[in-house]
Symmetry: C2
Subunit: 403 residues, 2 copies
């Protein structure tokens, strides 16, 4: 295990040559490397050869890149990310990038280059459609959540995994940015000019804040399954025939609905954002209807596959109980709606916005889209116990969003 | 850190002299030591001097004492016990024995001798009353559960504690003996002759098994607070003016209601057992009424103190929300009833019985008392969502137990 030092591009190149067989037989002088990271936390280098052979070298920095050295973070998150990705690869090999090498001391992971994919956020902002995306994500969520839970793992192994994925620093980011800031007048918030009154209404919605407290407490305490922890549209790479989930550094044991809700929340953010992104009304309506169908398909795909796992692969005889299993699924459903609502809210008034809203050129439309996101977010959080199925949810969405 | 070896009495004596200042200036030849353990897992030595100075030397064995070397257990449980007791001592110094010394390598803890106390189980079987017990236990439960939870601890510290108290082996014992065996025809069960048909009815109660699945899943996943994990009447030493909770080796992060429910379950086991223990009807009725009052007082004492902590000491601003806090308390209440019910059931048909039932001399009365315990246990598990307060619970108890 090497002693940590922050990589320059030439270090990343040399490291990739030394620690993978990808570039064997190639003249190192013909390789190139550039830093391509646009994320908040890490360095990301792409090492490539003109023949097309390439790899990504991802290195954690000892602080949050987006803030600087004043926000220190331990390098342990590189271990968590690599170990979570290895588990995800075992369960869904096609749906995560291949890991070639991991080095705890350098906080470095060398993985498959996904340059032939695009970031889902960017593609969705452009209104593109990916035929495999929803089925792939339903499979990713059902498989990673079921097979890392007490439903499948030996209890001793599951408890060891809980300890392995204790992730205080990254969880702290979620706990603050997702559950705290958006519900008070916090200096970290990012409220659009002209949106201050609407945001303040949120900060004084006591019924909502009680529900968010419940969702936060569940996030803090419910060690149900190994979550990816950050399933937003910027953590997914897509191609017409491929889906890859990246950036697992937020992985930890938490409530299953959090991952599913994060993803649905991001589809709904795009649904709201299209109000200001897609000019032609017919095209927009058709695209938005497609998004709602996708949400329906995501949940039903997840539920069907998860239920199959429940009936075929539940190992603990106490939990091999049909009545209880349907109650479990109902709880995951309610959590999913609640966390989707929180994602809508925090991306509208919190620190970390999304391009689905921010890139709307027309200010009036942007504020209307943000208003839609808040209305939907609040309704999902508040009504999650009454919404019995996705048809109810979609009817509620259509009813709430009148423009 | 010394290399582990199993102590003989003379080793425990020498160890206590070497590692505490208790016996300083006393001639070692005047000290005596005997093994007094009657538990299932450990060696317990009492080292004493005729003057009255004494200490307990508790050593974990690398297997379950009650089964033998065929059931290996790691010595890590001695660390967990000592570390949990140190946390409990900080929070409730009067309510746990003083720890003089702890040694991970030898799996040994030297602690205060409680020979001037009696084991609560034994005292309750004899129908004795301890005026401080209920208030002390309400305080112990409220303080240890609140101050080790996300309500009070910094989130980073709480997550580190979850990892510190990952306790797979001891949890496995609870998961099996508490939640699995009693609900099927398991070879570990211990069913009274003549009680087989009644036990079989339990094994086929599908509604009950679904509720037990829910309670087990919450036990497996809900990392709410550092539990003692084994608050039965054999883990409590009492004197008229003192209460001491011992044997924290089952400590781990779990649902708060588990500890409270375990204790209430043990009071109810005594309630049932007195049907066959206390011959004089008037005296028995008065004692049983007192037990029900104690249960009422235990919950109201816990709830009052826990609510005070909630309003005065909740550190996370998101959780400092009155509406949600009352929902949290309601959840703890329902868990409490459910786990109390499980305790009644598993002590009646499972492996580990209690003297409150087993020591009833009259066979007919013993079966009737066991029947009471099962009826109450089933009702608590099944009805915990409908029972709004302790008055409802006690009314239900009196209604269910017609003899």
């Amino acid at each position: 295990m090497a002693v940590y030092k922050t990589f320059q591009p030439q270090d990343a190149l040399a490291y990739a040559v030394a620690h993978t067989s990808l570039f064997e037989g190639l003249d190192p002088a013909t390789l190139s490397c550039s830093e391509i990271g646009d994320g908040n936390l890490n360095l990301v280098f792409k090492v490539s050869h003109p023949s097309g052979t390439s790899a990504i070298v991802k290195q954690a920095l000892p602080y949050a890149r987006c803030v600087g050295e004043s926000w220190p973070l331990t390098l342990d998150r590189a271990r968590i990310e690599a170990e979570a990705m290895l588990i995800e690869s075992e369960l869904c090999p096609a749906l995560v990038p291949t890991i070639y090498h991991y080095d705890a001391g350098m906080a470095v992971t060398i993985m498959e280059d996904l340059s032939d994919h695009v970031i889902l956020r960017q593609a969705m902002v452009a209104g593109e459609h990916f035929p495999r995306l929803i089925d792939d994500m339903a499979r990713f969520l059902a498989d990673t959540l079921f097979f890392t839970s007490d439903l499948y793992l030996d209890q001793q192994q599951k408890k060891a995994r809980v300890a392995q994925f204790i992730n205080p620093e990254l969880c702290k980011i979620t706990e603050d940015l997702f559950f705290l800031d958006p519900y008070c007048d916090h200096e970290r918030n990012n409220v659009y000019p002209g949106f201050e009154t609407r945001a303040a209404a949120l900060w004084h919605n006591e019924a909502l804040k009680a529900e968010v407290a419940e969702l936060k407490f569940r996030f803090l305490t419910e060690a149900q399954a190994l979550l990816h922890g950050d399933v937003h549209a910027g953590s997914i790479f897509v191609r017409q025939d491929s889906t890859k989930v990246i950036d697992a550094e937020f992985a930890y044991y938490g409530p299953m609905g959090f991952d599913i809700g994060s993803f649905i929340g991001n589809m709904l953010l795009n649904f709201c954002g299209q109000w200001g992104l897609m000019a032609a009304e017919d095209q927009r309506n058709a695209y938005r209807s497609g998004l709602l169908e996708s949400i329906d398909q995501l949940w039903s795909g997840f539920a069907e596959r998860f239920s199959e796992h429940l009936s075929q692969s539940t190992r603990d005889p106490s939990l091999n109980n049909l009545r209880w299993q349907s109650r479990l699924l109902r709880g995951i459903w309610q959590d999913t709606l609640g966390y989707a609502g929180c994602e809508l809210i925090r991306r509208t008034v919190g620190l970390a916005h999304v391009k689905d809203l921010d890139s709307i050129a027309d200010e009036q439309r942007r504020l209307q889209a943000a208003e839609q996101a808040l209305i939907l977010g609040e309704a999902l959080v508040l009504q999650r116990h009454e919404l019995d199925n996705m048809a109810d949810v979609l009817a509620m969405l259509v009813d709430k969003v009148r423009y």
